[in-house]
């Protein structure tokens, strides 16, 4: 063995030692049980700090900007209404989990925030929630849909949006109870977790309620031509076509389905939000489609926030922002009701309260997932309209 080999061997050994050390490190933090640590935010009931985080730069900045901006707006509005002096600190996670952890540490050790609104996307939110067991600071994400976010974490972690299985279940219930249909066809994206998850839950719930899924077809990522699958689907007898994908696919599928003479009611989930942005002058093909969403732009209760967001940020708010606004006010009223900045007291208050926000009533189950009024949106004359209105 010459010196080069020795050097290599040594380096490899050093590296594996480091890895083992790191691995030990993570298990150590994970096994810390969440006991009451007595964490308390700095300040008093009229002037304390909240934190919000999300990707404000990069490819998914559109979500993080909406969440953090709307959360700030909610605190400003609250201060005006209640004469308080609460501060909202906002940070950019860059959709990066390490960055999100740094921000969490800054929030709880430097800023001593009372509660955190965030993260925005699922992965960073899971990272923050995982670290939060040592303080138990209240965390509410307006947009993390991954089941693990609340499932794997303690009683201080809540979310204000539906999980993916919840959405699909609600749509299946809606099809059977409200539309009174019995037979469904599905066309979903097999290479996307969001889409396959929705397909699975929809099918389960629809069949549990006595309906039949007569055909379920799939397609790989980046498909734009769905005519082969739709031709196959058109040979079956069904009442609704469930299309659980993101809006670009949803639009192409609807367009090609109508072209092939499929007239069945089209149903979808919140991935449909934004579909009008790609419809242009062809919106007639999605006319009448119904999807579940966090809000509908024609709801009276959201008009004020839509207008003030436009005024302050010179941009249209989206469903992430609306939900963040509502969640922030929920946390603020929980703190007010609890009359304390202690994490423990606030968590108890959030878990037991039924909050009446701009999106209707919301409360939480034992897992920290929301139980709230589902909102169904339909497309009418090229506009998003609340279904049944």
């Amino acid at each position: 063995m010459n010196y080069k080999q020795l050097l290599k061997g040594g380096l490899a050994l050093a590296m594996s030692c480091m890895m083992v050390a790191c691995a030990n490190d993570t298990t150590a933090t994970n096994t810390t049980t969440s006991t009451s640590t007595g964490y308390e935010g700095a300040g008093d009931l009229t002037s304390f700090k909240l934190g919000t985080a999300g990707p404000r730069t990069g490819a998914v900045a559109v979500y993080g900007l909406a969440v953090t901006n709307a959360a700030r707006l909610a605190v400003d509005d609250w201060n005006k209404e209640h004469g308080t002096n609460i501060e909202m600190i906002y940070e950019d996670t860059q959709a990066n989990e390490t960055q999100a952890l740094n921000i969490y540490n800054k929030f709880v050790s430097d800023d001593k925030v009372t509660a955190i609104i965030g993260g925005t996307i699922s992965s960073e939110s899971i990272a923050i929630a995982g670290a939060s067991s040592d303080t138990g600071v209240p965390i509410i994400s307006p947009s993390a849909t991954a089941a693990a976010f609340t499932d794997d974490n303690g009683s201080n972690v809540f979310r204000a949006c539906y999980t993916d299985p919840q959405q699909a279940q609600l749509v299946a219930d809606f099809a059977i109870d409200t539309l009174g249909v019995k037979k469904a066809a599905i066309l979903y994206n097999m290479s996307d977790d969001y889409s396959t998850g929705l397909e699975e839950s929809f099918k389960k719930e629809f069949e549990a309620k006595g309906g039949t899924v007569v055909i379920s077809e799939s397609y790989p990522a980046d498909t734009v031509d769905f005519r082969t699958q739709l031709t196959k689907i058109s040979g079956e007898d069904f009442d609704v076509l469930f299309v659980p994908n993101y809006y670009q696919d949803d639009f192409n599928i609807s367009q090609q389905a109508r072209e092939l003479g499929i007239t069945a009611q089209i149903l979808g989930c919140d991935g449909w939000d934004g579909v009008l942005s790609v419809a242009g002058n062809n919106a007639s093909v999605i006319e009448g489609a119904i999807f579940i969403n966090q809000y509908s732009p024609d709801m009276e209760s959201v008009q004020d926030i839509m207008a003030s967001y436009r005024e302050v940020y010179n941009e249209e708010i989206n469903s992430f922002g609306i939900n963040a606004y509502d969640a922030t006010k929920l946390v603020l009223s929980a703190i007010e009701k609890a009359g304390s900045l202690k994490a423990e007291d606030i968590n108890k208050e959030i878990a037991s309260m039924e909050y009446q926000g701009i999106l209707g009533s919301i409360k939480f189950d034992d897992n920290g997932d929301p139980i709230k009024t589902p909102i169904y949106v339909t497309i009418k004359d090229g506009q998003y309209v609340t279904y049944g209105k």
Binding site: V224, D225, T228, Q229, T231, S234, Q248, F251, V278
Partner: protein, 294 residues
């Protein structure tokens, strides 16, 4: 719906996808045949053509003028691209050219993302001819326009290459660049012309594609570009009728596999066919097996 009607509907679906692949493959094969370069940026020229025509249509311009200007715009881009990125490397190894082409592809995609953002945009489709009815089967206007245009362009291109003086120059450059130069043929002009025609064809493909799917985005060209490349190899890269034939065969296989075997397996089978083709008949269906002269 009876099985026979369903089968015919699927055949028509296959012809439709096939004609789009064929149209894109024409440009690939043209450039490869003459300049011996696999222009990986070809798929992105389709995207450029689509965006150019979108911008022009949004100014309220008539579709015919908008289409013509988009074709000219793309041709100009092709000309510049060849002069700036490919010509200086003509004497370099084949691999450097290939890498430059991939770089070109990323450059186009990312600069269009910067200008138009990554969000997809609606395209105002303008082909609104009446649909064709054959018994219980309806064929929409997009289907037959794409089909007619791709076959027509194939015939025109073949005639151009076979019958005109410029075409003769192209064939001789393809055969032996050095000898062509000695015979007084302006090789630079000939290669430039090839690029102009190839990118012009890509613009046509982009516009027909956008009419068919009505949503465009900066990355829209990459997947059809790869599929069309497979079509060109399948038909025999360098051969003009081969590209069209390859496109139709590919579209048909894809559709029939999705319809009668499994949607999940469609791409697997398409790429498997490509591999088998390369193993057993590397020159493609209509390609000539030319021995390298030593």
């Amino acid at each position: 719906m009876s099985g026979v009607v369903m089968f015919f509907m699927q055949i028509i679906n296959g012809l439709n996808i096939g004609s789009i692949y064929a149209l894109i493959a024409l440009g690939y094969t043209m450039v490869y045949g003459i300049a011996k370069l696999i222009n990986f940026a070809h798929g992105d020229i389709i995207m450029v053509g689509a965006y150019l025509s979108l911008v022009l249509l949004n100014t309220g311009m008539h579709w015919s003028i908008a289409t013509l200007l988009s074709i000219l715009g793309c041709a100009l881009l092709g000309f510049t691209m060849e002069k700036v990125a490919y010509k200086p490397l003509r004497k370099a190894s084949r691999i450097s050219l290939l890498i430059t082409a991939i770089g070109m592809s990323y450059l186009l995609q990312n600069s269009f993302q910067l200008i138009f953002s990554a969000n997809p945009k609606p395209y105002p489709a303008f082909i609104n001819l009446p649909s064709l009815k054959l018994g219980s089967i309806t064929i929409s206007s997009n289907y037959y326009t794409t089909f007619i245009v791709s076959v027509l362009l194939m015939i025109l291109l073949t005639l151009f290459v076979k019958k005109t003086k410029m075409g003769k120059a192209m064939r001789s450059v393809a055969e032996d660049e050095g000898a062509a130069r000695l015979m007084g043929i302006n090789v630079d002009h000939t290669i430039s012309l090839t690029f102009i025609i190839g990118t012009g064809l890509a613009a046509v493909a982009g516009i027909l594609y956008s009419n068919c799917y009505t949503i465009i985005s900066p990355t829209m060209g990459s997947l059809p570009g790869i599929k069309a490349f497979i079509a060109a190899v399948l038909g025999g890269i360098g051969s003009i009728p081969g590209a069209v034939l390859g496109g139709f065969i590919l579209g048909m296989i894809e559709t029939l596999v999705k319809a009668y075997i499994s949607s999940q397996l469609a791409d697997t089978i398409v790429f498997l066919i490509l591999i088998l083709m390369l193993v057993f008949k590397p020159a493609g269906i209509l390609g000539k097996n030319v021995r390298e002269k030593v």
